[in-house]
Amino acid sequence: MSTPPAPRGAWTGDVRALLALEWRRERRAPQVLPTMVLFSIGVFVLFRFGLQDGRVDGPLAAGVLLVTTLLAALLGIGRLWAAEEDEGGLDAFRLTPASASALVAAKALALWSFLLVLHLVAVPAFAFLLLRDGLDVGALPTVAGALVLCDLGIAVTGALVGSIAAAARSRELLVPLMAVPLLIPLIALASEALSPVLTSPQDVVEGRWWTALALYDGVFLLVSWAVSDGIVED
């Protein structure tokens, strides 16, 4: 697909417009965000019973929070490209001069923002329902930093997996099959970054986990950008 070179700043404008469209869609008919939030809280309650009214801390707490995030994200990933496939959104997009990478970036940003909003609700709920000694205010920046990086990785990988699965007949089945293996390293890294601050007394997070998380995000950002034409091309 050969398109004339876009003027400077057009790419960011396209991403902004597409991201606004995603949020407008979500505001008009809330589907993804309420589902993810309700699902997460339901899982925390489930853990509360599953662990026999037990409370968690350290690596177990990090694992519960991150796996719940991952499972909630799978719901969002499954719906991310639904409008493009079911309502002809992709055909409409192809008629615009916007680049494919702008669409993929907007999808990733939309999922990232959904996950960040999810965590605004889910982290306090998690601390209240499951965390042994609650969440210390001093630990909040570290928790927020780890979750922002983890969510970015899930969003970028999710946008990619969602686009692959969207073309298939059985996308609901394919999304978890493809996303879970791809996200295991990310969850492992985020767990290493989170567990010291969810332990009582708090421990120091090693800098290498932040670097590795950022690298993982960076690798998948590059991959998504590189293959975006293949996703959208007619």
């Binding site: 990619l160 997996v161 686009s163 692959i164 699965a165 073309a167 298939a168 007949r169 059985s170 394919l174 099959l177 493809m178 293996p181 791809l182 295991i184 390293p185 492992a188 890294l189 290493e192 290498r208 590795a212 993982y216 690798v219 998948f220 991959v223 590189a226 293959v227 034409d229 293949g230 996703i231 091309e233």
Partner: protein, 243 residues
């Protein structure tokens, strides 16, 4: 027909290397005094794992070429590399289990990160065919499969890197261990095992490409002679390249 002329010389070279590998591993390298015959698996199992990873990355490279140049042959190259790598991956998992049983007394150890990582990669690639053949439009099928192959091909080495970073390996690395008392010929046998299985992979890859290309050509001729309905739609949809 792509690659048909290379099959015979490749097969001859592969047979020679495989024979050298078998002779060196079985007869030249002495049997380990403490581990016994099971140590010989060092000249089989790791080579399968190494070639598997290289093949997945090669699949990603060809898929990238397909996305860049839109040539169906690149999609076929990528498909066949991944298909053969899946077979090698399965053999690596099975031989790993046999080694684990002999060395640790268990067929599988969930605490062993290298085994689990390999299983994760195998499971990821196990979705390649279901994903691919769930897409009916052949061109979109090829393009989407290439996107998958590039992503998964980059993921595989990243995944191994992360595992090595986050966990202490139990997996033995006797060739890197200065305390290991393996004889010098062990390194030769190991090198030959990687070379032999690499050559075997390349030969099998060529064979499958020639086989698939021939089948595609036959179907094209069949449709030309007998009409469009001669090849069922299902057969067209399950082909790795546009018919």
């Amino acid at each position: 027909m792509p690659y048909a002329r290379r099959i015979l010389p490749l097969t001859a070279v592969t047979i020679a290397i495989v024979l050298a590998w078998i002779v060196v591993s079985a007869a030249v390298v002495p049997t380990d005094a403490t581990e016994g015959v099971r140590q010989k698996l060092t000249y089989l199992h790791p080579a399968f794992a190494i070639i598997t990873l290289i093949a997945f990355v090669a699949g990603a490279f060809f898929a990238w070429q397909h996305l860049k140049h839109d040539r169906p042959i690149d999609d076929l190259r990528s498909y066949v590399a991944i298909h053969q790598a899946q077979n090698f991956c399965l053999i690596a998992l099975i031989t790993g289990g046999i080694w684990g049983r002999a060395a640790w007394g268990v067929w599988w150890d969930w605490g062993e990160p290298v085994l689990v990582t390999f299983l994760i990669i195998f499971l990821l690639y196990a979705t390649y065919q279901p994903m691919r053949f769930a897409i009916e439009d052949p061109e979109r099928q090829a393009r989407t499969a290439s996107v998958f192959a590039v992503s998964a091909g980059i993921f595989a080495p990243v995944c191994f890197g992360v595992v090595r970073l986050t966990t202490n390996l139990l997996h033995p690395q006797p060739l890197d261990d200065p305390a290991s008392n393996l004889p010098g010929t062990a390194g030769l046998a190991f090198g030959l095992s990687v070379l032999a299985l690499g050559a075997l992979f390349v030969t099998l890859w060529h064979l499958e490409i020639v086989h698939k290309s021939t089948r595609i050509r036959v179907r094209q001729l069949q449709r030309k002679v007998e009409g469009e309905d001669a090849v069922p739609v299902v057969a067209r949809a399950s082909s790795p390249v546009t018919l």
